[in-house]
């Protein structure tokens, strides 16, 4: 009798264990569930958002731009990610459908970003544009910028991560303007004016220069001595009201000094840039192998680029796994809670990002 009781007791314990295991397995198979947020006070009729109604996580998420893979739409919307980056598509209609798909039901509209890349045109399947290398005059530069800006405006896009204003491109051989440093600066300013004349944000990149020349082609960051010529196109672009500057991972010394760190992780370099520039500071892609290899892990990369005071963080490489972005947001949230990053600094960037989206912020 007692053996029978013991067996029944074991059966009960095992059944309880089984139920728990089934519950855990189901949880893992469905992944992290992120509910559509209901806390954000955003009045669409007046385009006014109460910043204090957003959680810290949601504000951090606003500072990320990630890849616009359609399967990830709901997760990205529910995380309230700031922007999505779009690559090449077959037709204008495909772009329109994708953009509508992402923007419909979004709690806060996404920034929609694209990268003309100087000579790699995501619209090429239905619209050709001259590459930067082919542009001869400033008038032509303005026209190309304006035409590209018009295409993006028609598609309701927000930011073009272009132009490259590096003086040399020995990797692709077609992504930058040709000429003397002053000619390159003049063409860059004209092109930026062309894009921005259509209401699209242009991005001068890759600060501080010398990023498209190779040291180690595979796994390491590039070390570069920056001179005044490298900075000339950026200074002219700033003087002519470029809206955004993308900071690269190059480890810089010379006319600017990143103090042995990647430029976009250097607080001093970004602070010096901000001393003369009040626009949007954008990182280059943060999942790049060289950057990850420089630090002990990707978490450290993420914290460092936030600490360096960038506004917008490119984290394009999440197509296969949006959990990486979810994790990155958690890592930054922890750093804020530890006091390594101030919440005010996050608020300042988010306010800037929301203003680009045409949203007025109240607190």
């Amino acid at each position: 009798m007692s053996i029978l009781n013991k067996n029944y007791l074991t059966t009960i314990y095992l059944t309880i264990l089984l139920v728990i295991l089934i519950y855990v397995n189901l949880g893992l198979s469905t992944g992290i569930q992120i509910e559509s947020p209901t806390n954000i006070k955003f009045d669409r009729s007046t385009n006014t958002l109460n910043l204090s109604s957003m959680t810290l996580r949601q504000k951090i998420a606003q500072m990320f731009v990630t890849s616009g893979k359609m399967a990830n739409r709901e997760i990205l919307q529910n995380m309230v990610v700031g922007g999505i980056h779009l690559g090449g598509m077959s037709s204008k209609q495909d772009f329109i459908n994708t953009i509508n798909y992402f923007q419909n039901n979004s709690v806060i509209p996404f920034l929609l970003t694209v990268d003309m890349e100087g000579c790699i045109n995501p619209f090429e399947n239905f619209q050709n544009f001259s590459s930067l290398k082919e542009i001869v005059t400033t008038q032509q530069a303005f026209q190309v910028g304006s035409d590209e800006g018009k295409m993006m405006k028609d598609l309701n896009m927000t930011i073009d991560f272009s132009p490259v204003v590096d003086l040399n491109d020995t990797i692709w051989n077609c992504r930058n303007f040709l000429g003397t440093p002053q000619e390159i600066a003049d063409k860059a300013v004209a092109y930026i004016n062309g894009i921005q004349s259509q209401g699209i944000i242009a991005t001068a990149k890759h600060y501080p220069g010398k990023t498209l020349t190779l040291a180690d082609p595979h796994t390491s960051l590039v070390y570069a001595t920056i001179d005044e010529n490298d900075l000339l196109p950026f200074r002219d672009a700033i003087r002519n009201n470029v809206s955004a500057i993308m900071v690269d991972h190059v480890i810089a010394n010379g006319s600017v000094d990143s103090q042995g760190k990647p430029s976009d992780a250097s607080q001093q370099l970004v602070a010096n840039l901000r001393a003369n520039f009040s626009g949007l500071v954008v990182t280059d892609e943060t999942s790049m192998l060289g950057l990850r290899n420089f630090y002990s892990n990707i978490d450290q990369v993420t914290v460092e680029v936030f600490k360096a005071n960038n506004d917008l963080i490119l984290y394009i490489n999440i197509n296969s796994d949006p959990n990486n972005l979810y994790h990155a947001i958690s890592v930054v949230e922890d750093a804020v809670n530890r006091g390594e990053i101030s919440e005010k600094r996050i608020d300042d960037s988010v306010t800037k990002i929301l203003s680009i989206k045409g949203i007025s912020v109240v607190t």
Binding site: T11, L14, V24, L28, S67, N125, P217, T219, N317
Partner: protein, 123 residues
């Protein structure tokens, strides 16, 4: 049925569920589990392939080697990567089929990019 057999069956099912949790925690931190399975397969294929990763950009006949992580970022933004018959390269990646500018990559590069999480449209 004897409680002994019921307990044995419960233990076996529990064992498999525990193994499944361990595998999931070790190899799959994904919100979309099927993508992680693909990543594990790619990772396995990548480690078996001993050839060097190759990625070049052809700009109207001018050819340049592209660093692999920048290559991954770029080919993710292409419209498509189509298989090609070549001894050196396995895929041509482009924003337009008729474009004079395109990337050529080998299988090792494709597997690497997918393994580290980039999406490459090879369909």
């Amino acid at each position: 049925m004897s409680p002994k057999y019921i307990n044995l069956a419960l233990m076996m099912v529990s064992f498999f569920l525990i193994i499944n949790i361990l595998i999931t925690l070790l190899f799959n931190s994904s919100i979309i589990p099927s993508q992680s399975i693909k990543r594990i397969v790619n990772g396995f294929t990548y480690s078996l392939d001993t050839s060097p990763p190759k990625c070049i950009f052809n700009s109207s006949g001018i050819v340049g080697d592209i660093p692999i992580d920048r290559c991954c970022l770029q080919i993710q933004s292409q419209l498509s990567c189509d298989p090609i018959n070549s001894t050196e390269f396995n895929f041509k990646c482009y924003t337009s089929k008729t474009s004079e500018r395109f990337y050529l990559i080998n299988k090792k590069t494709l597997n690497y990019c997918e393994n580290v999480g980039f999406y490459v449209n090879t369909e």
